[in-house]
């Protein structure tokens, strides 16, 4: 009798907990369905349709026509090239973050202040940061060209020269993104077993060898995480080139894949090719991530 009561109470309690859990989970699930799942499903449909504007009214099935259209468009391939070029910033970020984080493990004064300073660009609004860099590299009034002029050099039209447009974007990406890596590497470096260093020292390893053979493998999961998220983020680059040049930059060097997608969807109202582009990008990212995971078995050490 008593046991029954206890079990009933437990069941009631569990039911109530389940309801609470469901209610709490419902909101983000609803959000995902409305703003993630449904658009994804619609995008699949639209990718195979000739659709003007955002209404399915009058839409016709065109098979792989939209994919063919996108793949035959030289600007799409140019946008892939631009995006891959810009994604160099993800690799530079990792190297630079590791170096700075490693230096911050040393006994220096104001370590926390430095960490904070390095992290500030990461939390700054991308719009504000981009505008700041635009001013710095402004052809006529920018600080960089003023310095060049001061030393008697010929000013460079940084943001309107296709040779410089992407390198400037990479620079912006590195400046903004390194802080995040520094924080993650900072945590990872403090977790490396110090006895390994002592053992290596006893075996006669110098600092560089210790770094390469102990530190780097020990923090490889963090490196892997930064690499995956960095590459995915870089392949979705859109805001910065769009802010600098809403038309696509000099010689279309600012047209990234997402920029290309945006232009077709919201400037030309071509949702079919835009959806096809979105899926091509998603497939590309998926393949790259799968390859990354496969290759990671060779160099990522979870021990």
């Amino acid at each position: 009798m008593y046991l029954d009561k206890v079990q009933a109470k437990k069941k009631k309690h569990a039911d109530r907990e389940g309801l609470t859990g469901f209610c709490l989970a419902f909101i983000p699930v609803l959000g995902f369905c409305l703003f993630g799942l449904i658009p994804m499903i619609l995008a699949i449909g639209m990718a195979f349709m000739n659709i003007r504007g955002y209404s399915f009214e009058g839409a016709t099935f065109v098979g792989f026509g939209n994919f063919k259209d996108v793949l035959n468009d030289s600007l799409f391939w140019k946008s892939i090239g631009n995006t891959l070029y810009m994604s160099v910033s993800a690799f530079i970020n990792i190297v630079l973050a590791l170096i700075v984080a490693f230096l911050l493990t040393k006994k220096i004064k104001g370590k926390k202040i430095f960490r904070t300073i390095y992290f500030i660009p990461y939390v700054c609004s991308v719009v504000a940061v981009t505008l700041m860099w635009m001013w710095i590299f402004n052809n006529r009034y920018g600080a960089v060209n003023m310095l060049i002029r001061h030393f008697g050099g010929e000013p460079v039209n940084w943001l309107n020269d296709s040779k410089w447009f992407i390198p400037i974007l990479i620079l912006m990406g590195v400046w903004s993104g390194t802080g995040y890596g520094i924080i993650l590497y900072g945590a990872a470096l403090t977790n490396v077993n110090s006895s390994l260093y002592e053992a290596a020292k006893v075996d006669g390893a110098n600092s560089f060898k210790s770094f390469m053979h102990i530190t780097v493998p020990a923090i490889s999961p963090t490196t892997f995480y930064l690499l995956i998220t960095g590459i995915i983020g870089a392949l979705q680059e859109f805001a910065r080139p769009q802010i600098i040049s809403a038309t696509g930059g000099p010689d279309n060097t600012g047209v990234t894949v997402v920029f290309y997608l945006y232009r077709r969807a919201f400037e030309y109202f071509e949702m079919g090719p835009a959806s096809a582009t979105a899926w091509l990008l998603a497939i590309f990212i998926l393949i790259l991530t799968v390859i990354n995971f496969a290759v990671s078995k060779l160099w990522v050490n979870y021990d």
Binding site: R16, C23, G53, S162
Partner: protein, 628 residues
């Protein structure tokens, strides 16, 4: 966290979300009015007040003007309790994007602005309400009293993608008109030693005879001019330089004037604008159109269901022809009659029969090279007889435009180098940038629209005024054999005055339930009260021609003194290239290459002509005539 608290938070969240699904379920008895055959609004009996949402964006002056208009409209006795306009200000920079998405999702307001680059697309997508019947019935919005070239650009046929044709329908009315002119810094001109006079071309004889004062109230002798003033915008007489702000400068005069002002800005210690420029324009239109060129041309062809295709002619190298001024009878070219001063159209000057109205099998490659076309013998004969004067090609005109901004050390094309008198458009940072540059005294001249007048009236550091856009002109020199009645310095060959005017439409959303109510407000804005208020504020020219010639617009007590330039420009200026087809997809890629490597001096125009971006445009243009 306490479990009860969790449950409460969860329930609260659900309670917050649930009512959202019930929004818009309440009864609504508003709207349902009609516009009768006489153009009068008849509210539906028993209907409650229609709350009509109106999106607006713009600067403070424009917002203030429209707030007054909305308040006035809402306060009219016939509107009280019947129609209420609710004005909602939207940020300018994201306006087009947000509007496009709202229209697509069916959540657009009842009335909104549509820029001229989005109008055709929205009309074709069915987002805009067809107001043709309202326009036809209106006693206030009278098309015949307005600027034809502005009003008819909104008469659009969604099937043919053509404006101004009989089959077109109205989906919007112009909120205003913004013709482009040259704004010039008069203080700099004076500082550079350039005297400004203000005489219309048709009054030069009287001015030269000393019987007429110019619009600045001075006679020729009072200016100390010793010789005859010719129909030139910028000229030298007796070692002194003059600028006539009522006569268009030639291309050469524009460069010479800009250089003189630029030199003064950069070298005079009182100005000290080391990175200042004498001139700024970002539009090639008035160069190309002045000689009859264009970036696309419609070519008749029986290969297309619609009867034509588009050729990309931005770099068309064939010369243009204009009927000489002294030709009395119309000249017939390709069975089309042309009067004196009219430029022969592309399809008439060239022998299209080479291709028998059909595209070659290799498509774009066939018509890419304009050299494949030939000037017809008919045109050549008329030119030899002196009935037609030869003008530069579109390519020549475009080259001259590009030279304005290119560096003197950079070859623009075929041995022609830059003038370096204007900054690159990308250095200017958009519309706000160029306005600021002029306001801060970093530009001697600026080509821009009427909408800047409000801002420029705030300038206190220097005087400014306006002048017509440059046009193609050559003059007789001492080396020429002078015809009877002509002197050295008289015009030998000229193109036409040309340029583009901006305009924004007031449109009604196709999903509105308040179309008649919305129309009444639009009609009010387009009427005398609405147009007068906008004109008084300075940023627009009234739609009604007679109103534009009154003091409400001319405002002789305010800058610019030479306001009549705007009126003349409104007569002949047309919409920009972004208006030519239903969207600007065919423009973006080559424009980016042009504004990038070409303007930077890394690519000559010949290389641009052979680029993938240029070639691709032919294929893109084909899509505008396919599937009709």
């Amino acid at each position: 966290m306490n479990k009860k608290l969790k449950a409460i938070i969860s329930c609260l969240a659900c309670v917050c979300i649930a009512p959202m699904s019930l929004i818009a379920c309440g009864p609504d008895n508003s709207g349902g009015g009609t516009i009768d055959e006489e153009g009068n609004y008849k509210p539906r009996p028993g209907a409650s007040e229609a709350d009509v949402k109106f999106w607006i964006s713009g600067d403070d002056t424009e917002i203030a003007v429209f707030k007054t208009l909305v308040d006035d409209f809402n306060a009219l006795p016939e509107n009280k309790g019947v129609i209420k306009i609710s004005m909602i200000q939207r940020p300018s920079d994201s306006y087009d994007t947000v509007l496009g998405q709202s229209l697509a999702s069916g959540t657009a307001p009842d009335i909104f602005y549509v820029g001229d680059s989005g109008y055709k697309d929205y009309a074709e997508l069915g987002y805009l309400y067809d107001i043709t019947d309202y326009v036809a019935r209106s006693k206030i919005y009278k098309v015949e009293d307005m600027w034809d070239n502005v009003v008819t650009r909104y008469k659009y046929d969604v099937n043919t993608y053509l404006s101004g044709t009989d089959s077109g329908r109205y989906y919007g009315v112009p909120k205003d008109i913004g013709p482009t002119v040259v704004y010039y810094n008069e203080t700099y001109f004076k500082g550079a030693g350039i005297e400004i006079i203000s005489v219309a071309a048709d009054q030069l004889d009287e001015f030269n005879a000393g019987t007429l004062k110019d619009d600045r109230g001075k006679t020729k002798s009072e200016y100390g001019i010793s010789g005859n003033v010719k129909e030139k915008g910028y000229f030298e007489i007796g070692g002194k330089w003059y600028f006539n702000n009522q006569v268009p400068m030639s291309w050469d005069e524009t460069v010479a004037c800009a250089k003189k002002v630029q030199s003064y800005m950069r070298t005079d210690s009182s100005v000290n604008k080391s990175s200042g420029y004498g001139y700024f324009t970002e539009w090639w239109f008035n160069y190309g159109w002045s000689v009859g060129g264009n970036c696309i041309q419609q070519i008749p062809s029986d290969q297309y269901d619609c009867g034509y295709y588009y050729d990309f002619t931005l770099m068309d190298g064939t010369p243009n022809y204009i009927v000489a001024d002294d030709v009395q009878e119309p000249v017939t070219v390709n069975k089309v009659k042309y009067n004196a001063g009219e430029i022969i159209e592309y399809k008439d000057k060239l022998d299209m029969s080479i291709y028998n109205g059909k595209k070659a099998a290799d498509g774009a490659a066939m018509y890419k090279n304009s050299a494949n076309y030939r000037i017809t013998d008919e045109v050549k004969t008329l030119a030899a007889e002196g009935k037609l004067n030869q003008l530069p090609s579109q390519r020549d005109a475009f080259t001259e435009f590009v030279r304005l901004g290119s560096k003197q050390k950079d070859e623009v094309d075929n041995g022609l180098y830059g003038h370096e008198v204007t900054p690159l458009p990308t250095d200017i940072d958009g519309d706000a940038g160029k306005v600021n540059e002029f306001q801060y005294g970093n530009l001697g001249m600026l080509v821009d629209g009427r909408w800047n007048v409000t801002k420029f009236r705030e300038i206190t550091k220097f005087e400014w005024d306006v002048a017509p856009l440059p046009m193609y002109k050559t003059y007789y020199t001492a080396a020429d054999t002078l015809p009877d009645g002509k002197e050295v310095g008289d015009i030998k060959v000229h193109g036409v005055e040309a340029g583009h005017s901006g305009s924004v439409a007031l449109c009604i959303g196709s999903k509105t339930k308040y179309a008649p109510e919305a129309w009444k407000f639009i009609e009010y804005c387009a009427g005398e009260r609405g147009q007068s208020l906008q004109a008084e504020a300075g940023f627009a020219i009234p739609l009604q021609k007679d109103l534009a010639n009154k003091d409400v617009f001319l405002q002789p007590d305010k800058s610019p003194k030479n306001s009549k330039v705007f009126i003349r420009a409104t007569e002949y200026e047309q919409a920009g290239d972004w208006w030519m087809l239903k969207d600007k997809k065919w423009i973006d890629e080559w424009a980016n290459l042009l504004n990038g490597s070409v303007r930077n001096g890394d690519l000559t125009l010949s290389e641009f002509f052979n680029s993938d971006e240029y070639s691709k445009t032919f294929g893109l243009l084909d899509k505008y005539t396919a599937n009709r």
